[in-house]
Subunit: 194 residues, 4 copies
């Protein structure tokens, strides 16, 4: 089984998720700057979720680069990842409309946590098919980012209850961690082209 | 006629269906766990529909793998399948918002039944073009899953009237049946690559 | 300029149009068959529009098959076609919710008419680039369908005022005309592969 | 890294943006021409935004034609461009519903300005990777359109406060400027094929 349609389908779903999130920002009724003000928290949540979907698309893009063939298990692990990401617009809208209150922030973190878990399962499925000597396993190395970020999400979920916006701070921090492109895989790809 | 655009268009439509279903989950107004509670039935319906679209995408992906050229009849049989799947978000939202009541559950099952019928017509159209000795006809074999699942949908439609959630149980059971990847086609594909 | 991205972008837009139209069918509040009743006209409009987008996708697919390179003019003629088709969900929803009343039905016909005009302009742009001896010009021949259907749309717009549903009848008739696949182009494609 | 998925993802996001904007045009309740009247300003905003997304898709298409490989920086510069364009539906709806009032028109211009800036950053990222002797740098030349249009957006933002619709006039003027296809790049592409 080739990976072309898996990539095309994932790109499609991620493109739709990243774009329909903006529909959660309801057009305000007034025409003044004041009318725009209540939209601000939803906008901030949107920015964070946009960055997260961008990170997932980016990492997915890099990871699939090292995949040659796709098994049924990989197809379902990929759909499982897309499922959790598809809940981001809902979680984003709820967190934004409630100004980063405790429960919505915790739910947002839970969605991030489950997506991270699903990404890890997808990675494992690929490595299981390719074998432990695979390019992906080598490229990941010790994968400290993949191990650290779930801990940050858990911390964000826990601290969401303390103060509005605190959870959001943790999630934004974990996003910054990933914004640095995954040089590990880029290096391996570059070597394999030598 | 090549099959590339047929695949691309189908992937696009399926990706949009699977993602806009989440828009039926309306962001609740309160910020408590209680406010999330009424969303739960819609969420459960969403999970089931997500799995169904995933199954259709998966099987479609496998089936198209055995198709070389595409006739006008196949194009329209494919659009017919996409039509019934496009009604899933509506049926999902209605069933979820009414907590798996009789009529909405029966409508949901009807959409599943019509989609199964449309898939079967698409299969027939492909085999008619390829001939009875085709790879697809061979791969399908006796196709007991394809024959059993419409019966389960009919049972689900009938039993929807008995108790809320009973129909849903049937539909979930049929989904489990399909979650096992279609090894018949994978085997044939593997052999044809030998 | 290659045509790959033109096809991909058109497929994307058409896939989204065909799928978001279903969002105009609002989930009813009751859980009975009666509650479903008012959705019926919107559903019927949806079926017609689904068929029309399917026809356009099909014909577009066939036409682009005979195109080798794409100029700036063709890109804009294609966007112009997509613009009119993007108004279909709005026109569909308005016509359906008002039970095929005069003005909404006339607007629906106008959108169909403008889309037909835009398709004709796109055809002309391609033939202008390829020359009058081109495969597309040959495949179209006298193009009686392309000349007849705008007349039917005009008749539908005019007769919409007479009785609710009459315009819809004309539009459905024109759709039936196109449901027969465009054998002209299929024949030329088949010959060029000989 | 290849550019295929970057193109596919961008096409997907742009196709969705251009299509969901039409969802801001709410189906009116009455069935008369009068009921359609209030939708007109939203429709005019939609036309302008459709043209802008078309321009961006067109220019993006031309620019990517001169790109061979894609770095992590280019991926993020591209996502940054898509982010600002994803705000167009919101800004379009707000401006249209408020009949081109001062603040919404200024916001619309700001989104255009930021998108222009993001496009310029993307151009710079590509040239930085390719070197100053690159085909893209040569094709852009003095890039007077790219330098003039941000000034027009700023003028539109400033003059939005003077009279409703004045800002819209500036933005429409800048769009006209770009509707002429980018012959610079077409010429370079044509030469490189010689």
């Amino acid at each position: 089984m080739g990976k072309t349609r898996l990539e095309a389908f994932s790109d499609g779903v991620l493109a739709i998720i990243i774009t329909i999130m903006v529909l959660e920002m309801k057009v305000p009724h007034g025409a003044t700057l004041d009318a725009l003000w209540p939209v601000l928290p939803v906008f901030l949540s949107y920015v964070l979720s946009f960055v997260y979907v961008g990170i997932y698309w980016n990492n997915h893009h890099h990871m699939l680069h090292l995949v040659r063939s796709v098994s049924g298990g990989i197809l379902w692990a990929n759909l499982h990842l897309l499922f959790w990401l598809s809940l981001l617009p809902f979680a984003t809208g709820w967190m934004g409309e409630n100004h980063f209150a405790a429960v919505p922030s915790a739910l947002y973190g839970t969605v991030l946590l489950m997506a991270a878990l699903a990404y890890w399962i997808l990675q494992r499925s690929i490595i299981r098919v390719q074998g432990p000597e695979s390019a992906l396993a080598g490229a990941l190395g010790r994968d400290w980012k993949g191990k650290l970020s779930p801990l940050i999400y858990v911390a964000g979920i826990v601290f969401s209850a303390c103060a509005p916006g605190l959870g959001m701070g943790f999630y934004a921090g974990a996003a910054l961690l990933w914004l640095v492109p995954d040089r590990r895989i880029e290096r391996v790809v570059a070597q394999s082209h030598d």
